[in-house]
Symmetry: C2
Subunit: 248 residues, 2 copies
């Protein structure tokens, strides 16, 4: 039997998970997927994602890969078999055979995250697990101005939770960082060639401070140049964040 | 002190409620609202809605009224006070003083419900509590044809759970019954001058059968004329249903 690598596109509701990565005594997305594969194949198979997501963070388009002991005759049945063993909060949307050279993490050339904010004066009960509620009316133009400053190639050390632990350094390119509004819903879209640990929640946390007019948009420059993570950059709550898409 | 009647517009996530109406040993939306008012005012105040919603059914625009012992100096504070005592799954969106002649149920002249169907081959984890998942590809045109037959003034006895218990008879007017599709999301909109008990879920259940091509759209006519509730009209699951708006 020749092992076969499979790429899976995964969506999950992160509300009740301790994040992506397997941890003892916690329910995680990786743990659920590896559990389903073990039930199907009778042995442990490691599932490698494009990157971890934190506790409470959702995914519309997470990508992962695993090596199956042999090529499946019917990949559609493998997909359905996995989904049948998963809780409703996780679903494999696509499954396809890929060459061994494909690696969910190392082959990724970009990612898009979206951060959703319910900016109504009263928190909407519907979708409350998929949006961060911010009661104070946010200054959209200020947030957009700050986002523009942050776009492009920068050293984002000041927007990482553990900048010293980043193996590939702290320089990344944000192709796009946009802030749009539709009714009370504000959406932050972040598309870049890579993201540091908790970078999107840090960018969002900073943009929220700008939106509250606690700091001027131009301060983004000073913070970038400082390369220092300080209290000026809070980490926004996880529930509004979605890993939207991974590019290869 | 002169009592004052207040109208409230209420949104709720019905997932974990045993419906609107107070029931012993169950958590209900009415129970939560009356509990909050009792905490605020020190006595029991009855909250009357435009109509009950069943267990698991959501509301974007439920309307209710209650008589407060006196006119509130600051209605905005009363609103915030109520919301502060409610679980996140329920929110009063608006509160305003109304004359005693206003009655949430008897003054209503129409209602709009929406029923959301996730018709993808794989059930989306996000929003799964707000949509009914139907795996079989549904025939949209057939559903639309059946909906057109059901529009207008009819005796809807065959689409009610307990037609003999309807005090105001079983004739109602559906101003609009439409079926639209956007990606895998199918939306049924029902706007009428009134709805019998479980009527929207019955209409949706029938439209789902038509969509599965188990019955022809024209059968809607036969069922209407029969005035008999039979197994031909199943009750669709509650999670996809929203009370969208009440008209006065």
């Amino acid at each position: 039997m020749t092992p076969q690598r499979y790429r899976i596109d995964v969506a999950y509701d992160g509300t009740n998970f301790a994040g992506w990565q397997v941890q003892p005594r916690h329910t995680t997305v990786q743990g659920e997927l590896e559990g389903a594969l073990k039930q199907l194949g009778g042995r442990h198979v490691r599932v490698e994602a494009s990157g971890r997501t934190d506790a409470g963070v959702h995914a519309r388009g997470q990508v992962a890969h695993f090596d199956w002991p042999e090529k499946a005759d019917r990949p559609d049945r493998l997909l359905r078999g996995i989904n049948a063993l998963l809780p409703d909060a996780v679903r494999v949307l696509k499954l396809r055979a890929v060459p061994d050279t494909f690696h969910a993490r190392f082959s990724a050339v970009g990612k898009e995250y979206r951060y959703f904010i319910d900016n109504g004066s009263i928190r909407q009960p519907i979708d409350r697990f998929y949006r961060t509620w911010v009661r104070d009316p946010l200054d959209l133009e200020a947030m957009q101005a700050a986002a523009t400053v942050l776009e492009g190639e920068h050293d984002f050390a000041a927007f990482a939770a553990n900048p010293n632990r980043e193996i590939d350094g702290t320089i990344r390119t944000l192709y796009r960082l946009s802030v749009t509004k539709k009714g009370p819903l504000i959406t932050i879209r972040a598309h870049g060639n890579g993201f540091l640990y908790k970078m999107v929640r840090s960018l969002s946390g900073f943009l929220l401070r700008v939106g509250r007019q606690e700091v001027q948009p131009v301060v983004a420059k000073t913070i970038l140049h400082s390369k220092l993570r300080t209290a000026r950059v809070p980490t926004a709550p996880p529930e509004g964040l979605f890993l939207w898409r991974v590019f290869y």
